[in-house]
């Protein structure tokens, strides 16, 4: 059932490729806007790069949160999932994983290209990719709670950002912190370990809370 959900959501995403591409291009455009607004000076851009890429990743993954449950909610699939004998937390975990594969992973793969635009050195690029690789799943996991709570509400898109962005702050701090530490020549392993800790904690609790939120939203 878990694998089935992932397979199904991925298939839906492949059938509607534009949804995936929209998120990815949003990410690229936001990152490209910064040099245009602060000027093309390379030293400045290099120091800003980790923060800019991370904030853009945050916004991009948040932008796609609405779609995590809403189409299933509208066509009634979600209600069927709720009354199925499977554990709802597992189903939510499957949906979250699919969401990350569709929206988070492309961002991770795209990040090095954007980092080169900002003249990041090679090993900083590597740290950036690693931090995004561990961090973006946490964004999807926490975001699932927000998406479940705002399901079917008017103005849900803006509301979900209000709920979820404050909770994203630790990930943002340590994600961009890892890259900055690497560029400053300091050990960055502690940052990555902390993001890893967030990942495991949210992997255990977030699907459970999100499943609970879905029950509240659909009762």
């Amino acid at each position: 059932m878990f694998l089935w959900i992932i397979k199904r959501d991925l298939l839906l995403a492949v059938r509607r490729r534009s949804d995936v591409l929209i998120t990815l291009f949003f990410f690229v455009i936001v990152v490209s806007l910064f040099p245009l607004s602060v000027g093309p000076e390379m030293n400045l851009l290099r120091t800003m790069a980790p923060g800019v890429v991370w904030v853009a990743a945050l916004l991009a993954s948040m932008l796609s949160l609405n779609r995590m449950f809403s189409s299933d909610y509208q066509d009634g699939t979600l209600e069927q999932m709720l009354i199925s004998p499977q554990s709802l937390s597992f189903l939510v975990l499957g949906k979250t994983l699919a969401h990350w594969l569709v929206t988070g992973l492309p961002l991770v793969l795209m990040a090095p290209v954007l980092g080169i635009q900002y003249d990041l050195p090679g090993d900083a690029l590597f740290v950036l990719v690693i931090s995004l690789l561990i961090g973006t799943p946490v964004l999807s996991l926490i975001g699932a709670i927000g998406a479940a709570l705002t399901l079917g509400l008017r103005g849900g898109g803006v509301l979900v950002s209000l709920l979820v962005l404050p909770l994203y702050i630790p990930i943002l701090i340590f994600g961009s912190g890892a890259v900055e530490a690497n560029m400053a020549g300091v050990d960055f392993a502690a940052h990555l370990s902390l993001i890893g800790a967030f990942f495991f904690v949210s992997l255990v609790f977030a699907p459970w809370v999100a499943a609970w939120s879905l029950r509240v939203s659909l009762e």
Partner: protein, 247 residues
């Protein structure tokens, strides 16, 4: 002797109890406020380092304490409401949120007023200031989620979940912001070294803290009474109150 612990968990009986308690707490708030402000402005000595500007702590410190404390209280009531399915607990959580947000805003505002003469700047990205700002965002998120949901039962439960998620996250956010702050070494000022305080200053501050407590209780009870009336407007006892012309 059998005590009915749950007598006042019914909105109808709590409504009248709250009505009796509000004048008491409001009076205590006013008396303590006058006392605290008198001690703060006339009795407490001028600080030799900070001059008269330090007197803003008589507002600022109580506001900052209340802002954090009220969030925890709100999350507790919201949790009770979710666990025991008691309507009144959720109404309490809803009633606490605006007061908490007000105190958070007040703490930020007075803090920046104090920062200008002391540090020469309205705002520094200090760990405390930043986490207080994030606390304000959490309050706003809670209130806007509840405001967006029309069905009060769903609003209660959804608000409870986000309040509980927030309360779990507050320590994480606080420590990550603190670490971020020490890594960056941006602000050269330190808020952490509080010099030993004159006892009259401390007393004035504590009186103001109690005044804020009393104020919060009075206002929250008043607000919860209004919420009760709003939600129970279809019931017989509210109709009776209306017939008597009380509300």
């Amino acid at each position: 002797m059998a005590i009915n612990w749950f007598k006042y968990s019914s909105p109808a009986s709590f409504y009248s109890l709250a009505g009796k308690m509000i004048p008491l707490f409001a009076a205590a708030a006013i008396i303590l406020l006058i006392m605290g402000l008198y001690v703060g402005f006339f009795v407490a000595p001028t600080d030799f380092q900070q001059g008269e500007a330090y007197r803003i702590i008589f507002i600022h410190v109580p506001a900052a304490w209340m802002s954090m404390f009220l969030y925890v209280v709100m999350a507790c009531w919201a949790g009770f409401g979710l666990a025991f399915n008691t309507r009144l607990s959720s109404m309490m959580a809803t009633a606490i949120a605006p007061t908490g947000a007000m105190f958070t805003f007040l703490a930020l505002w007075t803090g920046s007023l104090w920062g200008k003469p002391m540090w020469g700047t309205w705002w520094v990205w200090d760990a405390r200031l930043t986490s207080e700002l994030i606390l304000l965002f959490l309050y706003i998120g809670f209130m806007s989620l509840q405001a967006a949901i029309d069905d009060p039962r769903r609003a209660d439960k959804a608000g409870a979940i986000i309040a509980l998620v927030g309360v779990v996250n507050i320590p994480i956010i606080y420590f990550s912001v603190q670490w971020w702050n020490t890594l960056h070494q941006g602000a050269s000022v330190s808020v952490n070294q509080a010099p030993a305080m004159a006892s009259t200053m401390l007393m004035g501050m504590l009186i103001m803290v109690f005044a804020s407590w009393m104020y919060s209780i009075a206002v929250i009870l008043k607000r919860v009474r209004i919420i009760i009336l709003e939600r129970e407007s279809h019931t017989a006892w509210v109709a009776e109150l209306q017939k008597e012309g009380v509300v």
